[in-house]
């Protein structure tokens, strides 16, 4: 490229009467040896070999330069620090006070403002190295003679903070450069809603102790995923903490009470903020759940699935039926069901009545047994214990006859006792009554063998 040199002269309008002189050829060229060295020689050799004119070569050089620039831009500073990129160093970052390190944006100081909490340890290490090389006070002193190491101190503080896991979490917790605003969710279309929520929850997810954090997901996420997401965020376990906002305990003060007071205050403040933050997140999840178009979709889907299931069980081919037939079938089914129910009910009731009657009868028989035994005993005593008339029966006979009567009553069923009483009351005759008793004993058979003497 031909550089243009401004000559130290000035031109003004030509004097009148001046005319362009006639042209003539310059003197013949000389011959001189040349050193085949340097970029200019190579340039002229290139023009000669490729037979380019000056203009063509200019174009070529410009395009080559542009190409080179484009390559350089692609890489950024990337050949040495791949993936890190180059960030500007605005004056407010460079000129900050290292004493105000709590207000310092550590990521911006290291040139990691675009990565923030996403920066790996390796990023931080390389970024720190790069900044140190650039801003080392020795270097500054050599370049400008300035003895200014304030920005270097900022770099060191940033590095110290970001390489210590606890401190980095404390800073990340309160990183004011990450906005945590949530736009008005109600006014969003479903697509926008999903978009916004994805962003919001990937941002919120950075505080989770459990990683990886499930994504909010797409508009057509399956039920399981959606439920998984809400489960996760309702049981969110956050490491976010607010030590960064602590008020400095005045180290110099000897007052122990003072220190304790501040510490206590800090602690309560931290818990308050933490609580606030947890509430904030829960409210956010509540809001989102209420507005989530996917939940509505899933509910609708479930209902449809239920209905479909119902139809599937009544008829193998539910779709072949006309509505009228369906109705008929349904009615028939209903009727059958009703009938069956009633029949069952009746049967149940009937059996119940029988059993109760039997029970009652049995109890009644048991109650009457004594009565019946007494009436039989009166018949026996009235017939003078089957003794000839005029003779009073001995006590042993009476006792024998009565105990044998007890035995009979025990051995036979209450109904038979009733029959026996009715038979004996009918005859009312001493002899025949004894015969009836003997018959009964005989009918008892083996059970009463050898036990009866009077009524044998």
């Amino acid at each position: 490229m031909a550089s243009i040199i401004t000559l130290p002269i000035k031109l003004s309008t030509v004097p009148s009467g001046w005319k362009k002189p006639t042209t003539s050829k310059p003197s013949n060229p000389n011959q001189l040896p040349i050193y085949p060295a340097g970029p200019s020689f190579i340039g002229s050799a290139r023009r000669q070999i490729l037979q380019r004119s000056f203009e063509e070569d200019d174009k070529f050089i410009i395009s080559a330069k542009e190409k080179q620039l484009a390559e350089k831009e692609d890489k950024g500073d990337g050949s040495l620090y791949p993936g890190l990129g180059e960030e500007e160093e605005p004056s407010h970052v460079l000129s900050q006070d290292p004493k105000e390190w709590k207000k310092q944006d550590h990521y911006a100081v290291l040139g990691l403002g675009h990565l923030r909490y996403k920066a790996h340890d390796e990023h931080i290490r390389i970024a720190h190295r790069r900044k140190v090389l650039r801003h080392h006070p020795d270097k500054k002193a050599a370049q400008h003679g300035a003895n200014d190491d304030s920005f270097f101190k900022c770099i060191q503080k940033a590095h110290e903070t970001l390489t210590n896991n606890d401190k980095r979490r404390q800073f990340d917790s309160v990183d004011w450069n990450i906005e945590d605003e949530v736009p008005d969710l109600k006014s969003l279309s479903p697509e926008q809603f999903v978009d916004v929520c994805n962003k919001v929850f990937s941002r919120e997810g950075r505080f989770s102790k459990v990683q990886p954090v499930p994504e909010f997901g797409s508009l057509d996420a399956p039920k399981k995923e959606v439920e998984g997401f809400y489960d996760f965020f309702y049981n969110f376990d956050s490491w976010r903490s607010f030590e960064w906002h602590d008020k400095e305990v005045n180290e110099g003060s000897d007052n122990r009470d003072d220190k304790r007071f501040t510490e206590k205050k800090n602690k309560s403040e931290r818990t308050r903020r933490k609580k606030e933050d947890n509430t904030r997140l829960r409210v956010l999840v509540d809001d989102v759940l209420a507005l989530d178009p996917r939940i509505k979709r899933i509910k609708a889907e479930e209902k449809a699935a239920r209905d479909a299931k119902k139809k599937g069980t009544t008829n193998g081919v539910p779709k072949a039926l006309t509505p009228a037939e369906k109705k008929a079938v349904e009615e028939k089914k209903k009727k059958e069901e009703l009938e069956k129910k009633e029949a069952d009910k009746k049967a149940l009731e009937a059996s119940k009545g029988d059993r109760e009657a039997a029970k009652k009868a049995k109890e009644a028989a048991r109650k009457n047994l004594k009565k019946w035994k007494k009436s039989i005993a009166t018949v026996i005593s009235s017939s003078n214990y089957f003794q000839p008339e005029g003779t009073s029966p001995s006590a042993t006979i009476i006792e024998k006859q009565l105990s044998e009567l007890d035995l009979i009553v025990d051995l036979i069923e209450p109904e038979q006792v009733k029959e026996l009483k009715e038979k004996i009351e009918k005859v009312e005759n001493g002899k025949s009554a004894k015969d009836i008793l003997i018959e009964t004993v005989k009918s008892i058979g083996e059970k009463g063998q050898d036990k009866f003497t009077e009524f044998a």
Partner: protein
């Protein structure tokens, strides 16, 4: 130093991904080496990972590596380690072999060789040295090997056998260059893929070829054997004003601009003063292209002269203190004690010389048992040394003047003096030179003169290696020009119409610019209207104006003779001017408002002239003519 550097390099590789540690020139496979191969000292430069050329040190931490090889018994010393052996083992030490390259035995001046003798009957010059070779191995007998536990070999058979070795000059060169290559390979971690080796300005093409072949035999990928003066010019990026300025390589003259800008066309003297010789080249720089106007050399003027001066000084000092007669440097028929003292003191004063050129304080010289058991311990300061060396300085100045005169120029026309070679490090010499030229001419040593040639070689190798991007072959580019090229014979400049003057107002194309050449200049125009310019061919001249010195009022105390003599002379002020000789044509442009007139002048390869002129930003209205 080299070890530290390479260890650090390896650690970096381990630490970083390998990508972080690649060399800037395109990829890791491209490693560049520049070798300054001098008669007495060599140095090597590589392109570092930032893309800058740097002179590196060898394993011993030396940036200046002595071109010396010494055979001591079974051992071979190469480089600075070989130099001390010159004292005891001069017969088997080889030095100063470079200048013999490409010569036949008969062409060599045998009287100057003080080291190992040259073999008389060989075609190419060859040295003979006494060495000890390892003993021939006893005839291998499998049985005796098995029984070696019992039969110990005769210890006498293991003694090295005295022998002589014949080694030709190209072989010595290859051996030496291969050690340089090893040093560079150790530093870079990989073998350099491209290399440029320097050769003195007066080397013939046969010598160039011999050097190239020797380097290739050493396993060096030689792209080019480059003239030392050209290497200096490339190293300083002369003519590439912006790059040179950004790297702070512009020299600072005593007057005028303080190294802020550089003329596009200029005449530069490269003054290379090494250990043994002085080379002066006058070069026309036309926008980065270097054409040679003249070159000359003096084989006796070198750093060795300073050594001899110091030798003389310290031997006198020694005699004065100890009353022991010692006259150094001694001739060939001196006593053995004198010769030994000479060799001892030569090594010592070299250190003294270096510290003199490096620091402004006094430099010491101490030798134990210089002669007859007496020690020497003395010092010399810069002022004293400059006084001693003023004669040498004057000789250098005379040589410079002579070479410039031979080129048909005057010292006043020289725009810059570039210094190379470690001997130019003396500030006294630099001051002397700057007094010879005009006060606006810088005497530049912004790059360490002892390293600039190696750096220039490395840069040139980088430039040549970058040709691959354009799909051009190095051989094609280097063979594209013959020895000599067509150049403009006279400067072409401007005359502003209406201004009656026989001088050109400004020179657009200087004489000596290789054809084809294109130049663009911008000229501010004050007001709208028709502006015109005439193009003239000119002729460089030197205007001498005599200025009568204002008579200094003599004070009564000031009556020294020297001052009076100076005052009587009128001071001559020489200013280079360009007289107009032949009109070539003219242009006129109708200007609309203020602006700049852009004038483009092209001299074609056949000598034809194309001239265009237009108002900047308004290229539709072009006034042009062709011849």
């Amino acid at each position: 130093m080299i070890n530290v550097a390479s260890v650090r390099g390896h650690a970096t590789i381990g630490f970083f991904n390998f990508r972080y540690f690649r060399l800037r020139p395109k990829d890791a496979q491209m490693t560049i080496l520049g070798i300054n191969f001098g008669q007495s000292y060599a140095s090597i430069a590589v392109i570092d990972k930032e893309g800058h050329p740097t002179c590196i040190a060898n394993e011993e931490g030396e940036r200046q590596i002595a071109c010396a090889i010494s055979y001591v018994g079974e051992q071979v010393y190469i480089g600075n380690g070989a130099k001390p052996h010159l004292v005891k083992n001069g017969k088997n030490t080889i030095m100063g072999f470079r200048n013999l390259l490409g010569h036949t035995y008969d062409e060599v001046d045998h009287t100057t060789i003080l080291t190992a003798p040259l073999l008389a009957d060989s075609k190419t010059p060859a040295y003979t040295v006494d060495i000890l070779v390892p003993p021939p191995k006893p005839a291998s007998n499998p049985r005796s090997a098995a029984a070696s536990g019992t039969a110990t070999p005769n210890p006498a058979a293991l003694e090295p056998v005295p022998s002589t070795k014949t080694i030709t000059v190209p072989e010595v060169t290859s051996l030496f260059l291969s050690t340089l290559l090893t040093s560079a390979t150790d530093f870079l971690g990989v073998k350099p893929t491209a290399c440029v080796v320097s050769a003195p300005t007066w080397f013939t093409s046969a010598q160039h070829d011999a050097l190239k072949k020797a380097a290739q035999d050493a396993g060096i990928a030689v792209l080019q054997v480059l003239d030392e003066a050209a290497a200096v010019l490339v190293g300083y990026r002369v003519g590439l004003s912006e790059e040179r300025k950004s790297r702070g390589l512009l020299g600072k003259p005593e007057e005028g601009n303080a190294g802020e800008e550089e003329k596009r066309d200029k005449k530069v003297v490269v003054l290379d003063m090494g250990e043994t010789s002085l080379a002066v080249s006058v070069v026309q720089v036309s926008e980065g292209e270097y054409t040679v106007l003249n070159k000359g050399r003096d084989d006796r003027l070198g750093g060795r002269e300073f050594d001899n001066l110091l030798l003389k000084h310290f031997s006198k000092e020694f005699t004065k203190r100890t009353k022991v007669a010692l006259d150094l440097p001694c001739g060939p028929d001196a006593s053995a004690a004198d010769k030994r003292a000479d060799a001892k003191l030569v090594l010592a004063v070299e250190h003294t010389k270096r510290s003199l050129s490096a620091s402004s304080g006094a430099a010491t010289c101490a030798v134990e048992s210089l002669k007859d058991g007496y020690d020497l311990s003395s010092s010399i300061n810069r002022l004293r040394f400059d006084g001693l060396a003023s004669n040498v300085y004057r000789q250098v100045g005379n040589k410079l003047n002579e070479v410039v005169k031979e080129a048909g120029l005057d010292l006043a026309e020289i725009d810059e003096i570039l210094l190379a070679g470690a001997s130019t490090l003396f500030t006294g010499l630099q001051q002397h030179l700057s007094l010879l030229v005009s006060p606006t001419t810088p005497v530049t040593s912004t790059i360490d003169p002892s390293e600039v040639i190696a750096i220039g070689c490395a840069l040139q190798a980088l430039h040549l290696e970058n040709l691959k991007e354009d799909n051009l072959k190095v051989e094609d580019v280097l063979s594209s020009t013959k020895e000599k090229v067509d150049v403009t014979s006279a400067p072409i400049g401007l005359i502003i119409p209406g201004q009656e003057s026989d001088e050109l107002v400004a020179v657009v194309i200087d004489a000596g610019a290789p054809l084809p050449v294109r130049r663009r200049v911008a000229i501010p125009v004050e007001k709208a209207g028709l502006v015109g310019l005439e193009l003239w061919e000119g002729k460089h001249e030197v205007k001498i104006t005599k200025v009568e010195r204002a008579p200094i009022e003599k004070s009564e105390d000031d009556d020294e003779d020297e001052d009076d003599e100076e005052e009587e002379e009128d001071e001559e002020i020489k200013t280079p001017i360009t007289k107009k000789v032949k009109v070539l044509g003219g242009v006129q442009v109708d200007f609309k408002g203020e602006g700049q007139l852009i004038l483009e002048v092209i001299v074609q390869r056949n000598g034809g002239l194309n001239v265009k002129a237009w108002q900047e930003g308004n290229e539709s209205q072009i006034d042009s003519f062709e011849v």
